[in-house]
Structure formats: structure tokens, C-alpha cells
């Protein structure tokens, strides 16, 4: 499998570390909603098809990437830096939490 890192170009999967399901929403830091925390820490989507995943180019530029990968074919349809595009952060920003 090749992942095209926006910095480094197409690289073998061996250079990357899987950092998990990219759909998880981290509750606000001070949240005491244990169900929400439980969902965030333990629940993972496992779709047969396109999956939104986080990968780190740990053997390269070390950037975290949001990768849309088809779990049936390993086809990668998009790769982007995670920085600045996280939904939870946008919400926190809107609420003045960060």
C-alpha cells in the first residue's frame, strides 16, 4: 500500500503508523459525560468501504494525515494534513474554549 504524503510524496505503508479511526470526536476536556468519553476511547467505526483514518508519517515528516481508505480495496481516495481540519476543534474555537 502506498500513501501519498502531502510533504514527502508517495511512500510505502511501512513508513506510516496507524493512529486510529478518524471519526472519533473527543469530548471537551472538562466534560464529565462518561458515555461520550467511553464512545471516544473505545468505540471504533469499522466500515466495509471508505474509512476516515488517521495515519502518522512516523518514518518521514511525522505529520499526521487524514486518509480516506477503502477497507475492501485499500484504495486511498484522499490524504490531507489533520492540522486545522478537526471538527471538534472548530466547535471548541467557536465556543471560545481554545
Amino acid at each position: 500500500m502506498l500513501i501519498t504524503c502531502p510533504y514527502c510524496g508517495p511512500r510505502d505503508v511501512i513508513e506510516f503508523t496507524y493512529q486510529g479511526d478518524g471519526n472519533r470526536e473527543r469530548p471537551q476536556p472538562a466534560s464529565q459525560d462518561l458515555d461520550a468519553w467511553n464512545t471516544y476511547v473505545y468505540d471504533r467505526l469499522n466500515p466495509a468501504g471508505d474509512h476516515n483514518e488517521i495515519w502518522q508519517h512516523s518514518g518521514g515528516c511525522r505529520a499526521h494525515l487524514r486518509v480516506v481508505r477503502n477497507t475492501l480495496t485499500h484504495e486511498i481516495s484522499s490524504v490531507a494534513f489533520t492540522r486545522g481540519d478537526h471538527k471538534v476543534d472548530a466547535r471548541h474555537k467557536a465556543e471560545g474554549k481554545i
Partner: protein, 1002 residues
């Protein structure tokens, strides 16, 4: 008569004689021989004993699919078992032995298993020895008792225990077109693609390129096929854009057109050439793949089809044409298709008499009659072989009239003397790689074979195209045409149509009769290597194993080292008949990597041996030069002890630890993970990742910090130093340096991209030395310039900058040993310089160097935790670190750390243990309330670290014990049956020594 070398012919070098041994007896062969061909040439027919029944077995094939003739190759003390003799090229000094026989191959005691053959059916051992517990003789315990003997009696080669000293390497390769297989189709494909300018790799698992051309006896382009193949390969060698890999098996087809291959670089040599590895593991990334992997001939299933002397028809043809070896003098053939007639003619030409061709088909084409006439062979059409005669070698066959429509036998069986029987049950394309790549095989009723589907040149992951026998096109002319077309297509070219090289070949219909099995009395083997008979398959069906996946697992059909290359289709056909379903409805199992055996060494390659990476601290050479015994910790090497002559490890670390508490000791701490956390929001960020506050930390001070994981369990600890308002130096444990870095990067990249913080790994930038003990401050005062180091200038957890021997250093007063202690950091390049200056300054004060053992002793005495206690299961509370959990702010893990299960009673808590019998304690030993040596049970915890404490004069340990805190002051026992150590202990606080910290606060 036995097999023999022909007087002429074959592609062996008859002028070169090679000497080797098999089962201790010396033999000779010629250059170009395999072990199988050389042994046959010497008249050897018995190669091994079968897996379950210990039946004598000969050689069935001439190639990679060999199920019977497995041998163990010895190289010095190293033994490599289960190697097909058909794949071993002989060389001077080759030493091979047969397997699964005792005391010898010819006289094997366990062959008595054959007498009980009816009993030893599928699942016999499990049914007999693992049945329901009725009485003392049937239970799991009884199975466990018997298993040892059963496993010894069954099985194949024995693995050695000597370390493999061979070198292996890994190689990455990239190409436009990878061609797998170098028969006529593969050679044409490689040439066509290379002519288009594509970068081509051509792999061939045999030593010589050419595949079937090397033994078909056909004529291509006006010359013998073998010469044509040699010429074609030679021409390809001259291409800059083509790489030819002989002795290379492509064994795995993975996503994204990544293929794995093993090249047997030096197995055919007495010893590897200079710099040569034994095997090379190729990882090939190909834009397109041409699969020209050919086809395997199938055996027929009939009683006695496993007797030495029974062989596949093409294999005998190959032995005659390629190796100049006749597998017999009076040869009979048994076939359901036309290809055997060509084999008969080849063997006749090589000098054998063809006594009969037994064909299941009631009528034959005039071309086949013509071939049989040329071979001077009598055809028995509408007949079948119903038995073989002889002992360890074939003496004759029994034939009977056969109706292929209903499988019925009729008339009297009659004997035909023969010393060799060749069988041909049709051909199965070698679709393994396509199957690995996800292709669903399609049953072709005419060919009676699973064929690969139409090639997929589209799609993101697998781009392959097939050619030749792989696609079910069994003639050489078709292979040549398809090969060129595939090569062009794979290279993306079209190419002007040019004439294809003409082929002269024996005629023949590629479609066999749909006959797989002759049902007569006796064992007819389907899977030769695992001793699975046709009756076993039917038994499995009767017992309800109707799925092909279940059939495979219950009978172990196709699960041996040959992975059913010769047995899958016959097994499936017999199953289909039992089910009363057509074969495609029964389905086939998916092939998985590897295609054939792969050495584990090649997969490990440079991760082991001299090329294994290692990390050395800046002071490494000094440690080694000054008597340190080095200890490998992950990739790092750290001093374990600096032993004096005659000292034991315990004596050395006790001396080092005692001297540290009495005067001073110094230890290399350069391996600690170090991360620069910098930026306007650095303090805020640290507040989020640590359980305690760092925004309140003053510049020039350090603080001990604890991190949790998101799930609330303890993750890592260390000190973080505030070097400036926006500049922190975080230290982590040695083992977790990488994980902590990744953890921080994840949060900054994914969860909190807004804070202006940058993290940089600086582990390798700093050399660190920790110096502790009552004299430590005096030693620093004697060598540090540019700053005072007294209590006012350098209070507990204070940081100062100064110089030692002219080199800038950063000194932080913190203590892991519990003594008045300092960590001295300098630029890594000056590490040894500063270290030596500290050693020199310490001489008048009795400074000692100490290693990991003493470091551990000092920390156990203080009750500090490390990775042994922060083991991914413990919480801050379990480790009595709850004082570090801030209630003023959220931090990573704060929401989850108070979950019910993490605060429930009964958790394992950190305690100290003192050995009451004054004997050493062992790491990993269990702790029990009541000792029961005969039947150890009811563990209440385990020891995480242990030592002899010079400060206490006792053997002590840290342990995680259920409700440990409440048990302080009570007694328990350690129970360590593996090391036969039982004894009383007292449970105490983990703070054994100087619990109020008066020594370090000084």
C-alpha cells in the same frame, strides 16, 4: 530393474562429477542434477516415509510441487528440514538425510501403522485420545500424555537447535513489468515488455530459464526448445532495462501490486561467495504483473498410487529429457488425457520400453494411436489401474476394464509387470498468485480445471495479466502468442504485429476425461504428504464435514508443506461426487501466501546479526574501556555493572549501590527520552498532558510529572525542566521516549492544532550523567565553574547553568536514587569529556560508577516506579501517585481515571516485600496468602522488581498486590513453582529507605 542414467542426453554436464551424501552413503551426480535426479540416476527409489502410515515413498514430481521426497539438508550443525529433493541442486559436500523413519529408511518400525490402516482414518487420533471423559483412559489429560508419542511418530523433518549462522538480506525493487515464470510464455512476455522500454524483472524458481521448454522436446523457431529458451534468456540478459532472477520464487502477491519473492542465492554452492547472502528476500513493487506460472500435472487416485516407482508422467519426461535419467526400464502409463502420450514417446526415445498405456477413455484420436505406435506401446483404452504391486519398489500393476461414465470396473483384473508407472490426471493451472491477489477462480468443465478469471488491468490494487498454461492454454504455440500479447499489454504498448516463432510439437487435445479416482480395494492417496486417502474424504463427508473449508481442516487435505499443489483438485472432485454436486458448486479454497516454503531468516534479514541497529550513548566507549558489562535495553546498550575481577553480579551492584549511599556514585542517564516543548502555549499544553500543574512552575525549576493515557491508566513519568518562559525540556523513561513523542504529536496535530507549541525530540542532543550521594555536591563544587551549586543557588529541583572543564553544562538537582543528587547535561559530543572531568573530580571523594543493577537497587529501596510497575494496567492510585492528580484542571485521562473499575476495591497496589528467609526473591514470582507448593493457586499479586538492599541488609522487592496498601505489616508467601522458590515475605510500604526524603533534601 531400477532407475538409471541414460547413456546420452539431458542438460546436465556429464564431464563434471559431483560428490554428495544421502543418509550417510556417498553418491555422485553431475552438474545440473537435482538431489532427486541424482539419486534416481543412482538407482535410489525410496526417498522417505509417509506422514501417518510410514509408507515407503519415492519421488512423485520433478519440481516445487513435490509432496513425497522431502529431505533434511545439513550444513554443519544447522539442519533445514522438509526440503523437496526435486528443488535441491547438488553440490560437492551436500549432505542430506531422509525423514520420518526409525531406525532407518528401509526398515522403519512405525511402518506397522499400515497394518492398522483402517483404524487410522481422518480424525483418528482426536477421536481416540480426546473423546468424552469416560473412565481414566479418555480425557484431555490422557490426550496430553499420548500426544508426545503421537507427534513423534507422525510428522516430517526435525528442526535443529543450532543457531543459523547464514546471512540473509532484504532488497526492494521497482519495475514496470514483473514477469513470474520463464517458460515460453514468460520469456516472450519479458522480451515484448523490454522491447517497449519498460523496466522488466523476470523471475524463475528453477535454476534455468525456459520452464517446459527445457524438457518438452519440442522445436521452437527451428531449434530445440531448450536452446531457444537459452537464447531468449541470453538476449534478455543484454537488456539494460531487464533484470533476470533465477532460483527466485515469487511467493506472495499483496495489495498495491507489491510482490514478495525469495531468491536462493547460495544454496546450490558449497559456500556463499564473498558478500553473498544465503537467501535474498525481494519486495517488488510492480506497475503490472504478467503471471506465466504454468500448470501442475495432477495425479490420479487409485489404490497403491503412492508406491515408489509411481510418478507423474511429465516428471518422468523431464527426468529423461532434462537430466538424462530414466525412472524405469519397463514403464507403464495411466492417463485420462493426451499429454501422457508425448511423455511415453519421450521415454521410449530415451531408451525405456513402454509396456502399456492404460487410458480411462473408451476411444482415442488417431493422433494418439500414432504416438503410441511410435512409442511401441500397447494401448489399453477403457481400462484403469486398480492396484500396484511390489514392496518398496514397483514390480507391476493390475488393470481392469473401466467405464468412465459410471466408474464401474468389470472383468478380470490382470497383472502387467512394470518397474515404473506414470500417471496423468490432467493439468491444473498454477493460479496461486492470482488467487492471493483476490481473483476468484472459475471452473472450466472442458479443461476440468479452475482457470483464472479475465485479467484485471484496472483497479487500484491488483494489475496482472496471465499468459500460457496459467490461463489454461496448454500448448506452446498458444503460450508464445499469449506471452507476447501479455508483455505488450503490461508495458502499455501495442507494437507492430510481427511473426511469432513457429512451434513444432506433438499433437494433443488439452481436455482430459473427467476421471479423478478409480474406486477399488485399497488405499488411494489424494494428499500424499499428509496421507489423506479418498476414503478419508468420504468419511469426512459422512461425518458431516460438507463445506470444503471444513473438509480441509478435518482431513488436513492440502495443509502440508506442499499446500496441496497436487491434491486440491482431486480432493475437491471426490468431495463433489460424495455430495452429488458439480465441482464449481463445492467451491475451492483461497490460496494464501506463501506459494512455497520461505526461510524465516530471509524475512528477518538484517534485523538480526551484524546489521541489527543499535543505539550507543556518548559515553559508551568509556564504559566498555572501564570494565562495564553492557546490557541491551531495547536498541540501547547500557552498563549493567562495572564489575571488579572475581565479583559476582550481585556483589558488584551491592558494592556500587552501597558506595553511592556512603560517598557518591555516577550513572549514565543519556538514554532518557528528552523532548523540547517550546512555544507561547507550551505551559498550557503541559498542563493538559500531565496530571499535575506545570504552568505554575518557575523558570529555572524542574518538576516531576505523570502522564495518563486517554483511558485513565498511568502512561509515563519523568521530570520536566522550565528553561525559559516558553521553553521546557521534558524527560521521559528510556523505553517510552518514542511513544510519548508520538502521543504529544498526535494531540498537537489531531486534537489541539490551535496551541502554539512545537515539540522536538532532543534525546540524542544531550549527554546526561546523574551523580548522587552525600559527597555529590562537593564533587560538583570542585569541578563546576560559572555558578554556585550550594543550597541557595541550587535548591531541590533547581536548575543552574555553568561549565565543567570548559564545556557548558546544565545541572538540575533531582534524585532518583534518594540521595542528594544532580543530573548534569552537556552537548552529546562533549559527553565523555564532561563525564571524565566528573570522574576525576570525584576521585578524592570515593566516587564510583554504577550501572543499571545498582540504579535499580537504589530506586527499589526508595520505592520509585518504572515501566515494570507502570505496566499499562495500573492507575496513579494503584501506584500511590494520586497526590499528583490535579483537581484544578482537566488533563488527558482525567475523565476516565475515576471509572468504577479503576477505583474499585481489590485492585493490585504497589507494595514493598521483605524476604523473611533471607533468600533472593524473583521477578514475576507470585504472592499467595497460604503456601501450597504441590498445587500453587490463588495468587494475590506478583513481584515487579527485586534486589538485595545494602541499605537494609535484606532481600527486598516491589510488588503489585491485591489491596496491597491494607496488607502492609502482614505476612504472605512467594510461590514460584517454575523456579522452585517458595518462602515467607513481609508486606511493607514501597518506601523502604529514608521515606521522608531527608537525604535528598539534605
Amino acid at each position: 530393474m531400477s532407475p538409471r542414467r541414460t547413456d546420452a542426453g539431458g542438460r546436465i554436464d556429464r564431464l563434471r562429477t559431483i560428490r554428495f551424501t544421502f543418509d550417510g552413503a556417498p553418491y555422485t551426480g553431475h552438474a545440473g542434477d537435482t538431489l532427486a535426479s541424482a539419486l534416481l540416476a543412482n538407482g535410489v527409489t525410496l526417498f522417505g516415509r509417509s506422514f501417518k502410515y510410514h509408507r515407503p515413498r519415492g519421488v512423485l514430481t520433478a519440481g516445487v510441487e513435490e509432496p513425497n521426497a522431502l529431505v533434511t539438508v545439513l550444513r554443519g550443525e544447522v539442519r533445514e528440514p522438509n526440503i523437496a529433493a526435486t528443488m535441491v541442486e547438488i553440490h560437492d559436500g551436500l549432505t542430506a538425510v531422509s525423514q520420518n523413519r526409525f531406525p532407518s529408511l528401509a526398515w522403519d518400525i512405525s511402518a506397522a501403522n499400515q497394518l492398522g490402516g483402517k483404524l487410522l482414518s481422518a480424525g483418528f487420533y482426536y477421536k481416540t485420545f480426546m473423546g468424552p471423559a469416560i473412565g481414566p483412559l479418555k480425557s484431555t489429560r490422557f490426550w496430553m500424555f499420548c500426544e508426545h508419542f503421537i507427534r513423534r511418530a507422525a510428522g516430517l523433518g526435525r528442526a535443529g537447535i543450532a543457531a543459523d549462522t547464514a546471512r540473509y538480506e532484504r532488497m526492494n525493487a521497482f519495475c514496470d513489468v514483473l514477469v513470474v515464470g520463464s517458460g515460453p510464455a514468460g520469456l516472450m512476455a519479458a522480451r515484448a515488455a523490454a522491447d517497449q522500454g519498460a523496466r522488466v524483472i523476470l523471475s524463475e524458481l528453477e535454476p534455468h530459464f525456459g520452464g517446459s521448454a527445457n524438457w518438452s522436446g519440442e522445436t521452437i523457431d527451428g531449434m530445440p526448445a531448450a536452446d531457444w529458451a537459452a537464447r531468449a534468456a541470453g538476449q534478455l540478459e543484454g537488456y539494460d532495462n531487464a533484470r533476470l532472477l533465477p532460483r527466485t520464487t515469487v511467493w506472495g502477491y499483496y495489495d498495491g501490486n507489491v510482490l514478495a519473492a525469495i531468491e536462493r542465492v547460495a544454496d546450490h554452492k558449497e559456500r556463499p561467495g564473498k558478500g553473498e547472502p544465503r537467501h535474498r528476500y525481494w519486495i517488488i513493487r510492480a506497475k503490472s504483473v504478467v503471471l506465466a506460472t504454468g500448470a501442475f500435472e495432477r495425479p490420479l487416485v487409485f489404490p497403491g498410487n503412492d508406491r515408489p516407482g509411481v510418478m507423474l508422467a511429465h516428471a518422468a519426461e523431464r527426468y529423461a529429457n532434462e537430466y538424462g535419467v530414466l525412472p524405469g526400464n519397463r514403464i507403464a502409463l495411466f492417463t485420462n488425457n493426451d499429454s501422457a502420450y508425448r511423455s511415453a514417446l519421450a521415454l521410449k526415445k530415451a531408451g525405456a520400453a513402454i509396456v502399456a498405456i492404460v487410458d480411462v477413455r473408451p476411444e482415442l484420436s488417431s493422433e494418439m494411436r500414432e504416438l503410441a505406435d511410435q512409442a511401441e506401446a500397447k494401448i489399453l483404452f477403457g481400462h484403469a489401474v486398480v492396484a500396484t504391486e511390489g514392496g518398496k519398489a514397483l514390480s507391476g500393476i493390475k488393470v481392469q476394464r473401466f467405464d468412465m461414465v459410471n466408474g464401474a470396473l468389470a472383468g478380470e483384473a490382470r497383472s502387467i509387470p512394470a518397474d515404473c508407472l506414470l500417471m496423468s490426471g490432467g493439468w491444473s493451472p498454477t493460479i496461486h498468485l492470482a488467487s492471493q491477489a483476490g481473483a476468484k477462480a472459475e471452473w472450466n468443465a472442458a479443461r476440468q480445471a479452475f482457470l483464472p478469471p479475465k485479467p484485471t488491468q484496472q483497479g487500484p490494487t491488483q494489475r496482472w495479466i496471465g499468459a500460457g498454461a496459467f490461463t489454461g492454454s496448454f500448448s506452446t504455440a498458444e503460450a508464445i502468442a499469449e506471452g507476447r500479447a501479455a508483455g505488450l499489454s503490461a508495458a502499455g504498448g501495442t507494437g507492430a504485429p510481427t511473426a511469432l516463432p513457429p512451434v513444432e510439437a506433438a499433437p494433443g487435445d488439452p481436455d482430459p476425461a473427467p476421471v479423478f479416482e478409480i474406486r477399488a480395494d485399497g488405499k488411494g492417496f489424494v494428499d500424499f504428504q499428509h496421507d489423506v486417502t479418498a476414503e478419508d474424504v468420504r468419511l469426512a463427508h459422512r461425518e458431516g464435514f460438507i463445506s470444503v473449508e471444513h473438509l480441509k481442516r478435518y482431513t488436513t487435505l492440502g495443509m502440508a508443506t506442499d499446500q496441496g499443489k497436487s491434491s486440491n483438485i482431486p480432493g475437491l472432485a471426490i468431495m463433489a461426487e460424495a455430495l452429488g454436486k458439480p465441482i464449481p458448486e463445492v467451491g475451492t479454497t483461497r490460496f494464501r501466501p506463501p506459494f512455497s516454503a520461505v526461510s524465516i531468516g530471509s524475512l528477518a534479514a538484517e534485523r538480526f546479526g551484524g546489521l541489527r541497529p543499535e543505539r550507543l550513548t556518548p559515553m559508551h566507549d568509556w564504559h566498555v574501556a572501564n570494565g562495564a558489562t553492557m546490557y541491551s535495553a531495547g536498541l540501547w546498550y547500557r552498563p549493567m555493572i562495572y564489575g571488579h575481577p572475581g565479583e559476582t553480579i550481585e556483589q558488584a551492584y551491592v558494592r556500587e549501590a552501597r558506595a553511592t549511599r556512603e560517598s557518591a556514585g555516577i550513572v549514565d542517564v543519556s538514554t532518557l527520552g528528552k523532548i523540547a516543548v517550546q512555544g507561547p502555549d507550551a505551559a498550557e499544553f503541559l498542563d493538559r498532558v500531565y496530571t499535575n500543574m506545570f504552568s505554575t512552575l518557575a523558570v529555572g525549576k524542574a518538576r516531576y510529572g505523570l502522564m495518563l493515557r486517554e483511558d485513565g491508566l498511568a502512561f509515563d513519568d519523568g521530570t520536566t525542566w522550565r528553561l525559559g518562559e516558553q521553553d521546557f525540556l521534558m524527560t521521559t523513561t528510556t523505553a517510552n521516549a518514542g511513544k510519548v513523542m508520538q502521543h504529544l504529536e498526535y494531540f498537537l496535530d489531531v486534537i489541539w492544532p490551535e496551541p502554539k507549541v512545537h515539540v522536538t525530540s532532543v534525546t540524542d542532543e544531550w549527554a546526561g550523567a546523574a551523580i548522587g550521594g552525600p559527597k555529590a555536591r562537593a564533587i560538583l563544587a570542585a569541578c563546576v565553574t560559572g555558578t554556585a551549586v550550594d543550597n541557595a543557588a541550587l535548591p531541590f529541583m533547581g536548575i543552574v547553568h555553568g561549565k565543567i572543564s570548559g564545556v557548558p553544562v546544565m545541572i538540575c538537582r533531582l534524585s532518583f536514587s534518594g540521595e542528594m543528587a544532580f543530573e548534569v547535561y552537556s552537548g552529546a559530543g562533549y559527553g565523555t569529556h564532561v563525564w571524565e572531568a566528573l570522574i576525576e573530580a570525584g576521585k578524592p571523594f570515593g566516587l564510583v560508577t554504577y550501572g543499571l543493577e545498582a540504579l535499580g537497587t537504589l530506586r527499589i529501596e526508595k520505592g520509585h516506579v518504572t515501566g515494570a510497575e507502570i505496566d499499562g494496567r495500573t492507575t496513579a492510585r494503584d501506584l500511590h501517585l494520586d497526590w499528583m492528580l490535579s483537581r484544578k484542571k482537566p488533563f488527558i485521562g482525567s475523565a476516565m481515571m475515576d471509572r468504577e473499575g479503576l477505583i474499585a476495591p481489590g485492585r493490585l497496589e504497589l507494595v514493598g516485600l521483605i524476604s523473611l528467609d533471607n533468600q533472593p526473591l524473583n521477578g514475576g514470582a507470585h504472592i499467595v496468602e497460604a503456601l501450597d507448593e504441590a498445587n500453587p493457586h490463588d495468587s494475590i499479586g506478583h513481584i515487579t522488581a527485586c534486589c538485595y538492599s545494602p541499605a537494609l541488609g535484606k532481600y527486598i522487592a516491589l510488588a503489585l498486590v491485591k489491596d496491597g496498601k491494607a496488607r502492609r505489616g502482614t505476612r504472605a508467601h512467594i510461590s514460584d513453582p517454575l523456579r522452585d522458590r517458595f518462602g515467607p515475605v513481609e508486606i511493607v510500604s514501597n518506601h523502604f529507605f529514608d521515606p521522608d526524603g531527608s537525604r535528598m533534601h539534605g
